[in-house]
């Protein structure tokens, strides 16, 4: 959805590529409160860049600085090579779609959408024509004479989108664009947004607290916490290779095992973790100081749940196998405490012998399981050596 495989563009990997938006060491203070701390970011033309974070993480402040509603306390913002310092919002090549939509209540849909063009003194005939074509793109032609309060939430959202796109901005800022819509409409609108973005070639910067929204919309995600950018990457990178505990816990569900690094080889790491009760073996090297406290993060869908002791994969040192040939690492025994049937998947909460509770997601591939796992059943959990990632604080 976010990037069609045949046209995958990854300008951030190209050292020659010119960033369309360059944010350099931007800090914003409100009195004593520091909303944004030393953020540097490059966003490329045609991207859908999502700023993701909880409330109060500074993502909206950063967006408002791009729009020109707030001035950075220090640092600089460049849009298309032009320093934006001192440029008022009405002179920026940027339009914004507000979280509350901010439609003018005293104007009709048509007047709302035409507002931006009227400010620029575009001839009347051209305004009418452009408003018509924009409204037909968002499928609101039959509502042009309505006032905002006569529209549904989804229709208002589309008016807001049409109004922010009518001036053909090079950069569109979207503040929680889908926040006020219900789930079905949200999914539908996500597709529409991506389609419009591709059709018009606009660069989108989207602020959201909804990780699912960020995952489906974004070409890249910038995860923010306490005013800082914690990690920037594609949705896949953010989900599979989170760099810190915060990122892995914020995006999706994760099981965290605290531990100490036993061995740090170029091709693998072993971690001693009292929370699992067995060593954790990870098939990639990390670069941390030995003996440092680290966390091994395992996604629930990557954990297997079995009645029998799992067999170790090939290529693992013999010394790490148990006497029965089973694996002595990445595995533990526990008791099923909760089962939630979700239809496509089932979620199991397993209490390990160490006392730690972990979450396991299994797809329901068969309509009738022969003997389904039940509550209070004793099971083995395990995962593949490539499934876990090491994260630091």
């Amino acid at each position: 959805m976010a990037a069609r495989p045949e046209v995958r563009r990854e300008p951030w990997k190209d050292p020659q590529a010119q960033a369309y938006i360059r944010i350099e060491n931007v800090t914003k203070k409100f009195g004593e409160f520091v909303a944004v701390t030393d953020v540097s970011l490059s966003i490329y033309r045609g991207e859908i860049f999502c700023l993701l974070g909880g409330s109060g993480c500074g993502k909206t402040t950063l967006l408002r600085m791009l729009a020109g509603f707030e001035a950075p306390t220090s640092g600089r913002i460049f849009i298309d090579g032009q320093d934006m310092a001192g440029v008022p919002p009405y002179k920026r090549p940027v339009n914004m779609m507000f979280q509350s939509y901010a439609l003018f209540p005293h104007m009709t849909v048509e007047q709302n959408v035409a507002f931006g063009l009227k400010q620029d003194g575009v001839p009347k005939a051209e305004i009418t024509e452009r408003v018509q074509s924009m409204l037909s793109m968002v499928k609101l032609e039959q509502f042009i004479k309505r006032k905002p309060h006569q529209l549904s939430g989804g229709q208002r959202q589309r008016v807001a989108l049409a109004r922010s796109l009518i001036k053909r901005p090079k950069l569109l800022l979207l503040d929680e664009p889908l926040g006020a819509l219900d789930k079905k409409l949200r999914e539908h609108t996500q597709f529409e947004l991506v389609n419009i973005q591709e059709k018009l070639g606009v660069t989108f910067v989207v602020v959201t607290h909804d990780q699912e929204e960020a995952m489906t919309l974004a070409s890249r995600i910038g995860v923010m916490n306490h005013g800082r950018i914690v990690q920037v990457g594609t949705p896949h990178e953010i989900y599979e290779f989170p760099s810190t505990r915060f990122v892995s816990e914020f995006i999706g569900n994760v099981n965290m095992f605290e531990g100490r690094i036993l061995a740090d080889e170029p091709d693998h790491v072993t971690i001693a973790s009292g929370e699992l009760g067995a060593p954790i073996y990870i098939g990639h090297g990390v670069s941390t100081a030995p003996d440092a406290t680290v966390w091994a993060a395992v996604r629930p869908e990557k954990v297997m749940i079995t009645r029998d002791e799992p067999v170790a994969p090939l290529g693992v040192p013999h010394a790490m196998l148990s006497q029965s040939g089973g694996a002595q690492f990445n595995t533990a025994q526990g008791v099923i405490k909760e089962i939630a049937y979700m239809g496509d998947t089932s979620i199991y909460i397993v209490q390990l012998d160490s006392g730690k509770q972990i979450r396991v997601t299994q797809p329901n591939t068969h309509r009738h399981a022969d003997s389904p796992l039940t509550w209070e059943e004793r099971v083995w959990i395990s995962w593949h050596e490539s499934s876990a990632v090491v994260v630091t604080e």
Partner: protein, 336 residues
């Protein structure tokens, strides 16, 4: 039929007393009388509305009807100084005498027409000045920080803590020939002889605008304070300069507040009597003053009543406009 859901016969009562009352209300005599009350439309809701309703009936509608009645009477010497509308005739029938001469006289005599006209003019000019002064003030208060806002509002309301008459007399002290303003100006040798301000239209307008300014500011403030700042940001984001955003967004959205404030100033200013009398010239012709003269100088109660009724009719039209806008505003508020 709506359930009666207020104490004492509420259906949600769980206490023993409540259950007892409920049982009693099921007894045939209670049930019947309750049924009758319900059929008459008497519910808890009407009981609540009845209180202000009765108040307005007693102290507004009844006096109004009395004035209306007097306006159709004729003068006579005696107590009361007007003829009754209904009278027992000699032969035992009721005599009904309705005198329309007062109203015809108002229409015929140009004095009244001119008084009405000049009252409307004074009220209109005062309203415009109140608006010109009050809008920036209300806007300023609405846009100031929350901690300042209450202080500023308090300053607007503060004059109300002093008697209205005292405040008007204070203006006399400021404006008269050997008053503060003239003394200061003469002391500074800016002028050689006092500027005559008292007993002029200027002093009268100052008095009216000063007295009614809060009535303009408060409804305007309550409108402007509700404005969503993101609307202005959206306008600026779409290319409007801040001033244009004000013209295109804030101003049209504040029209209900402008109308409310203007009506609150205009309506009482038309009938204003004290300020023109104390500050204005002797030649200022205001309908309030005509009314006073008819009552207390001429002792012509029917004529005075007719003038009062005519004034009411003149004012009913703006009041209806006011109500229409209020409905619109409450409608707009519920859309948020």
């Amino acid at each position: 039929m709506a359930q009666i859901s207020y104490v004492p016969l509420g259906n949600r009562m769980t206490s023993r007393l409540g259950r007892l009352l409920e049982n009693v209300s099921q007894l045939p005599p209670c049930r019947w009388s309750l049924g009758v009350l319900r059929r008459l439309g008497f519910t808890g809701r009407t009981a609540v509305i009845a209180v202000p309703w009765i108040w307005l009936m007693l102290f507004f509608l009844v006096p109004f009807l009395i004035v209306l009645k007097i306006s159709f009477a004729d003068t006579r010497l005696g107590v009361p100084p007007y003829t009754p509308l209904f009278e027992w005739g000699q032969a035992g029938y009721i005599q009904f005498k309705m005198n329309l001469a007062n109203y015809l006289f108002i229409l015929k005599e140009s004095l009244y027409f001119e008084a009405f006209l000049s009252s409307l003019k004074v009220a209109a000019v005062s309203t415009i000045f109140c608006l010109l002064l009050g809008y920036p003030m209300a806007y300023g208060i609405a846009r100031s920080s929350a901690s300042w806002r209450n202080t500023l509002l308090l300053l607007i309301i503060l004059p109300f803590w002093t008697s209205f008459l005292v405040r008007v007399y204070a203006w006399i002290g400021l404006l008269r020939n050997n008053g503060l303003i003239n003394n200061v100006l003469m002391g500074l040798h800016i002028i050689d002889e006092p500027i005559v301000m008292m007993q002029t239209d200027f002093a009268m307008y100052i008095g009216i605008v000063y007295s009614y300014l809060p009535f303009m500011i408060l409804p305007l403030y309550s409108n402007l304070e509700k404005h969503d700042n993101t609307l202005l940001e959206a306008a600026v984001d779409l290319g409007a300069t801040p001033f244009k955003a004000f013209l295109k967004v804030t101003l049209p959205l504040s029209i209900p507040g402008v109308v409310a404030g203007s009506m609150l100033v205009f309506i009482p200013a038309v009938g204003e009597f004290v300020i023109p009398r104390l500050l204005g010239g002797t030649d200022s012709l205001m309908i309030g003053r005509v009314l006073w003269d008819e009552f207390f100088l001429n002792r012509n109660w029917p004529m005075a009543s007719a003038v009062a009724i005519a004034l009411l009719l003149v004012l009913v039209i703006p009041i209806m406009v006011f109500q229409r806008f209020q409905e619109q505003e409450s409608g707009a508020g519920s859309q948020k």
